[in-house]
Each structure stands twice: as structure tokens, then as C-alpha cells.
């Protein structure tokens, strides 16, 4: 438990939470490891929680017919994979697969939601962080929507 709290404190996503909340989080946490290529979660599965990545890299993939899996985002050390646990219907939207061997702290989503219901301040604090994460992903997605490196549509010179 103490080790988990220590690991949570050293993770940028939650490290600055007040100690009492870190204790709460630790009570919902498990240390996990995934070898390369192993799935952390699969599209359509119940979103049982999220992963605070400590080492390695996770690819968020979407399976396509013919083209194989397409990686649409990577999440590395210090970042978080998975925010579907927070919102209904609590279902993973993408596959999460270890690109490199991953060490992470897994947070139990069901447990965490229950804690948030009990303590809205904790709920707001976590919601704020996940909203920020979602906004960053959205911005990244919008930028890529522009295809700024793509072939110009009106070549001339």
C-alpha cells in the first residue's frame, strides 16, 4: 500500500493530490505489468479502470479491415491510458496495447467512481484532470484532422 502511494505520488497525473486522496487512490490501485504486444484493454470491453503509465508505451489502436490495426494515439510514461471508466456506458472505445513492455498502476474504475460519489471534492478533482486529458486529446485530434503535412490540393510551382 505504501509502495503504491509512493508510486502514485511520483506520477505527474495525480502526484500533487492531497495525501488523503492519494491514500484513497492507493486503495483502488494495483501494480501491473504488460509485455510488449499484450493488450491492456480491448474495444467494447467494460472499462474497468485506467492505467497510470510508469514505464513503456501504450498504443491506442483501432482495428480496420484490410489495413490492420491503426495506431491513433500513443501514451507513454507519466501519461494515462483510458478515461472511459469515468463516463457511461463505461466501455473502452479503442484497443490499448503495449508497444513496449509497460509498467503501470491500474486504478479500479468501479471502486473509484463509488469513492467519487461519496466525496464530490475528490470527484471534481479527478474529473478536472480527466477533462484536461480529454481536451488535450481532442486538440491533438483536431490538429491531425487538418492533415498539415498532407499533399497540398492545388500544387502549382
Amino acid at each position: 500500500m505504501e509502495t503504491l502511494e509512493h508510486e502514485l505520488r511520483s506520477h505527474p497525473f495525480v502526484g500533487d493530490l492531497e495525501p488523503a486522496y492519494l491514500t484513497v487512490l492507493a486503495s483502488c490501485a494495483t501494480n501491473v505489468e504488460f509485455p510488449a504486444h499484450r493488450f491492456l484493454f480491448r474495444e467494447g470491453m467494460h472499462a474497468s479502470g485506467c492505467f497510470l503509465i510508469r514505464e513503456g508505451k501504450v498504443g491506442l489502436e483501432i482495428a480496420t479491415l484490410g489495413r490492420g490495426p491503426i495506431v491513433i494515439e500513443t501514451v507513454g510514461a507519466g501519461q494515462v491510458a483510458g478515461f472511459s471508466w469515468l463516463l457511461e456506458p463505461h466501455m473502452y472505445q479503442f484497443d490499448g496495447r503495449a508497444i513496449e513492455p509497460v509498467r503501470a498502476v491500474a486504478l479500479d474504475g468501479d471502486e473509484l467512481r463509488a469513492r467519487c460519489e461519496q466525496d464530490p471534492r475528490l470527484g471534481f478533482e479527478l474529473m478536472r484532470r480527466f477533462a484536461h486529458l480529454a481536451a488535450e486529446r481532442l486538440q491533438s485530434t483536431r490538429l491531425r484532422l487538418l492533415d498539415v503535412y498532407g499533399t497540398p490540393h492545388a500544387p502549382r510551382h
Binding site: 492545388a154 500544387p155 510551382h157
Partner: protein, 396 residues
């Protein structure tokens, strides 16, 4: 001897002697002449070619020649052309080369003889030119283009070849058009310097004379072959009155106080939308402007593809191509293109070349098909300083 202050009085016969003396020195005489209902600058041989008794009536989108009730030779303001077309021709060939047949190689373009090199420019633009009847605003315009083509790190040989040795006979303005605002731009109506000779036409009843101010040694040299008399106090005072009256009768005014900061600070002023609603983006203003210098270079090959030349032609910031980079034009809207032109002319030019790009000649007002008036637009921006319209930052 102080030739710069030397003033003489000549009559119309003296003017012809003056033109002849310049021509004898090998200069090609270019001056005002009536062509197709306008006063243009063209080759002349004597004062008989000048627009005697003509004046021009100008306003926004309006130009008409009218008969004067005297025989003034320089009794008009400015026509659609400026001397720009002689120093910086509308089209020129800047480079020409032939493919090396033996080696089957493309020449990169070293200037090694007749095949490669710039046909215009150093190769000669013909005889040196004498400009007869250069207005004060036009002298300023030439000086402004000098900075662009000669004043930077690089020198344009076409311009330099034509500019070098040009003999400048200025004419102080005897009347202002309704579109004139050189006083606002501190560019006239009296030519203060930068000429070889400067004329002030003196018309008083039967009297038709010219006060000649000598600006250079070669101006004095020419004048030594012209019959005339030293100017007296009456004549110099009369000449001063001519330009004073012209200065007092400017048709337009442009407040240049803090104009750079004003335009830099009004990039999103809704007035640009207003003018864009009228502007046809035809580029006429840029063609008639005596300082507009933008050009584009096009490669042209013969049918066999063995000879290529690079042709340079006037370009205009009102075209879409002007700001084209791969993927599209930087300035796609007419709003942005008018804003670019006017902001360049009155503001960014100062940062780029150290002077304003406007001399107050009024040509852009006269020759705009819809009569857009740069002085009016500048005043409107000033009156609505700081307005930004409704445009928000769509950064949700």
C-alpha cells in the same frame, strides 16, 4: 559658383533651345503628350509635342482632358502613366539562355557571352533618357524606387541601366488636380532638389515664360546654350506664388500623423470589409502607382525547348497569385488584398525601405474604376481607430 541657386528666365523659344541642347548631348527626350484622350509620357522632339492648352479634370474614377483658356504647356496635373514605365518597364527579359546542344546539358545560366545573360539592362536600354516635365511627386517616386532597386544589398540591372544618367527636367506644379495630395505626403508641389533643371511656368496675360532653376553642373552646362536672362526678384516671387497657390489648392488631404501605428493597429478594422465591398481587385491602382514595384518572373521557352528566357512583368498584390504558396494564396479575400496594398503603401513600406510608399499623386484615386480614395479610406480608419468588427477567435 553655386549652380544650385542659379535661376534664369527663358521663353518658349528658349524652351525649345533647352530641349535641343539636351538632345544634342545624346539623350532621348521623353515628355508629356496627348494620346487617346489622356496625357502620357512619350518621345518628344520639341515643345510643339507638348500638351499646349490642355488640362486634366480628375476625380475619383474620373479623368477628362479639357481645353485651357491659355497655351500652358504644363497646365495639367498627372496622367495615368508615370516615369516608372521607362525606368522599370512593364515587361522585360531579365535572362536568356540556350541549351548546350553538344553536351546535351541544361545551362544553369552563367553569363558567358551572348547566349546567356540579361538582354535588358547592362546590355543597354538604348540612349540615356531625359525626362521632361517631372513633377515633384514623381521625383519622390523615382527616389523611392531607387531605394527598392538600387538601395538594397542587390541591384537590379534593368533599372540601373535605365536610371543611370537620366536627365531630369522637373516642372513645378501650376495647378493641383482634385485628386492631388502631395502636400500631405511632403512630396510637392515644388521640386526642392533631385533635378538637373526645374521649370516653373509663368503665365500672365501675353507673357509666357519659364523660370529655370539649375540643380546640377550638367544642368548649367545645358543652360549655357539657351538664350535667357537672369531671374529677377519679380520673377522668383511670381514662381513662388505659383507653387504656393498650388499647395493651397490641394484637392485631397491625408493625415500622416502616426499613420504606421494607426494601420498596424487596425488590421481587423471593419472598414476593410467596407472597402472590399467596393474594390474590384482589378489592380489598376498598382499599375498607375509610380512607386508600386512588384514583379513576377515567368519562364518562356521556344517550341523546341532549346532556348529559354525569363520574362519579368509588373505584378499586382491584388492578384491571387501574388501571395501564392503551395496549397493556396495567403491573401485570398479582397479585404486582405486591399488592406495589404494600402497598409504597404502607407505603413509597412516605412519598415521595409525607410520611406513612405505614397507620394500623393492621386493616380490610384483617378484610375480606380469605382473611385476608391486612399485618403478617404485612411481617414475612415482613423475615425474608427480600434474598431475590430465582430470577428472573434474561433478557438473553442
Amino acid at each position: 559658383m553655386e549652380p544650385a541657386t542659379l535661376q534664369r528666365v527663358i521663353d518658349r523659344a528658349g524652351l525649345d533651345q533647352l530641349l535641343a541642347a539636351i538632345a544634342r548631348r545624346g539623350f532621348r527626350l521623353i515628355g508629356p503628350a496627348v494620346r487617346d484622350g489622356v496625357i502620357v509620357y512619350d518621345d518628344i522632339s520639341s515643345s510643339a509635342d507638348l500638351p499646349a492648352g490642355w488640362t486634366d479634370e480628375q476625380d475619383g474614377g474620373h479623368y477628362r482632358l479639357r481645353r485651357r483658356d491659355d497655351d500652358a504647356l504644363f497646365g495639367y496635373a498627372v496622367g495615368p502613366q508615370s516615369w516608372k514605365r521607362y525606368l522599370f518597364p512593364p515587361t522585360s527579359v531579365v535572362w536568356r539562355s540556350a541549351r548546350d546542344k553538344d553536351a546535351g546539358q541544361d545551362p544553369g545560366g552563367a553569363a558567358d557571352g551572348d547566349a546567356n545573360g540579361a538582354p535588358d539592362g547592362a546590355a543597354g536600354a538604348g540612349a540615356p533618357m531625359a525626362f521632361i516635365g517631372v513633377r515633384s511627386c514623381e521625383l519622390r517616386a523615382i527616389a523611392i524606387q531607387d531605394r527598392v532597386f538600387l538601395g538594397g544589398q542587390h541591384t537590379d540591372p534593368v533599372y540601373a541601366g535605365r536610371r543611370e544618367g537620366v536627365f531630369l527636367v522637373a516642372v513645378n506644379c501650376g495647378q493641383a488636380a482634385a485628386t492631388c495630395f502631395c502636400v500631405s505626403m511632403d512630396a510637392g508641389p515644388k521640386a526642392e532638389s533631385g533635378f538637373d533643371l526645374a521649370l516653373t511656368e509663368l503665365l500672365d496675360g501675353e507673357r509666357h515664360e519659364f523660370l529655370v532653376e539649375i540643380g546640377t553642373g550638367r544642368g548649367a552646362d545645358v543652360m549655357s546654350e539657351v538664350a535667357g536672362r537672369p531671374a529677377g526678384r519679380t520673377e522668383t516671387q511670381a514662381a513662388d506664388r505659383v507653387t504656393e497657390q498650388t499647395a493651397a489648392s490641394m484637392g485631397r488631404h491625408l493625415d500622416t500623423g502616426g499613420i504606421k501605428d494607426l494601420l498596424y493597429g487596425n488590421f481587423e478594422n471593419p472598414r476593410w470589409d467596407d472597402v472590399a465591398g467596393r474594390c474590384l481587385t482589378c489592380g489598376n491602382c498598382t499599375m498607375v502607382c509610380p512607386t508600386c514595384f512588384c514583379f513576377s518572373i515567368t519562364d518562356v521557352t521556344d517550341l523546341a525547348g532549346t532556348e529559354a528566357e525569363q520574362q519579368r512583368s509588373w505584378d499586382s498584390c491584388f492578384t491571387m497569385d501574388h501571395s501564392y504558396i503551395h496549397g493556396g494564396s495567403v491573401r485570398a479575400s479582397s479585404r486582405s488584398r486591399y488592406r495589404q496594398w494600402m497598409t504597404h503603401k502607407l505603413a509597412t513600406w516605412i519598415d521595409q525601405f525607410g520611406t513612405s510608399g505614397c507620394v500623393g499623386c492621386g493616380r490610384c484615386i483617378t484610375w480606380c474604376p469605382v473611385g476608391i480614395d486612399i485618403t478617404e479610406e485612411a481617414a475612415a480608419i482613423r475615425a474608427s481607430d480600434g474598431a475590430t468588427g465582430e470577428e472573434g477567435h474561433g478557438d473553442a
